[in-house]
Subunit: 237 residues, 2 copies
Amino acid sequence: MNSTSALAELPQLERRTLSETVYEALADLLASGRLAPGDRLSLRQSAAALGVSVMPVREAVSRLAADGVLEVAPNRVIRVPVMSAAAFRALAETRIAVEGIAVARAAERRTAEELATIRRAEAAFRAEAEATKPDRTRAVQLNRDLHFAIYGACGLGPLQEIIARLWLKAGPVINLDLRVHPERLLQGFALRRHAEALAAIEDRDAAAAAAAIAADIREAAEFIMDRGGLRDTQEED
Amino acid sequence: MNSTSALAELPQLERRTLSETVYEALADLLASGRLAPGDRLSLRQSAAALGVSVMPVREAVSRLAADGVLEVAPNRVIRVPVMSAAAFRALAETRIAVEGIAVARAAERRTAEELATIRRAEAAFRAEAEATKPDRTRAVQLNRDLHFAIYGACGLGPLQEIIARLWLKAGPVINLDLRVHPERLLQGFALRRHAEALAAIEDRDAAAAAAAIAADIREAAEFIMDRGGLRDTQEED
DNA sequence: GCTAGTGATCTGTGATCACAGTTTGGGTGA
DNA sequence: TCACCCAAACTGTGATCACAGATCACTAGC
């Protein structure tokens, strides 16, 4: 060992377990709405589809189930929870409260670089949403990127993790709705709220930023609830 | 089937898996501070101690690890995370923000019954704390009961789950400190803040209730940080 | 023609085995 | 006496097997 100082600079390469990979694959399926509320999941089938044994899938599913993103019925059936309108409303209100805190803090504490990142993310989403033929999947991803660019400036790691879990939980409902009613994208509600949030963050106006994000969340939730996008009872697919 | 109406009254008995039982056992160990930051955990030893195979322990540990309550080092060593002072501060600030929301909502929405429950919980904690020879373990449990009696009145299920996870994460640090410095209980900080919170909830004064809980959390956190209760680096036990 | 029952096949859960990587402790070398 | 090294025992991870319970298609009986 002749150059210990050089070795110290080596980045600690993270150990990726199969379980983690499977978790991310499932989480992506849920966040993008390809797994819809009520859809069932089989350990063996998922394992076969992913080319692994059931073990990693078990661990990933149990983590998702612990977060309420999946649920195992007393029949031992794994499925994406079917949220009642009341549950969805409670989730939306929780998001408004928690994400409101994050945005408010972000507005107060954002650095110039963080502001630049947020601005870029806003522009990227705007470009996609205003495109003549917007790609919904991409728009969803860019919307997520924008929100988390904002939350990333709040300076509170635990809060960001909480929000990530809330998004995972709300993801299937929101993205399923977006697949069925893509016109919501075109109405530009989100665009307006994002612009308001960006302006407020530029001005370091915490209250206005929180209000903009709250309106963004509330309008999307109300749109979905008005459309009856929530099934009160499970349907067969 | 001659009495279908009677069958309909049967309570849906929940299925308890071994993993769940193990999870609760480990969570209790962590929440009560019997597992301290830095302590290591072995799957096989835990399984042997609980009289089960490693499988249920694996699932329980993976859930705990997903919540950041346990961590698996790149060496594949499972241990209770050693929080830096900065991480602990961030956790405390997150708790102040999130639990502040819950208390504020509880103050506005609490029913008479919920208020009675909170009042009883406050009296129980006070009785234990003012006892001539208070039982620390019991006091910790009663403190937890009081806080969650309040949060239970906020009307937002997802928010309560978030707070439960935050408590699980902070539990080892706080309760370890309480074991080392039991005198904090006697100084009555918590008692005063609890009384303030109770009074504010009675008056439906959301801001005052949030301030009281914020002070409760902040004072406990500052006490711990002043005492140097946080190890920046791991120690062997 | 319709319902009740029955067996094959699926489900998740738990136990056990196999494996690669890590830690550790005892011994051997200088 | 100290440093090094090697082997045994441990670690979590993944695969496989066994099992009880649930589901579903099908058939026997009315």
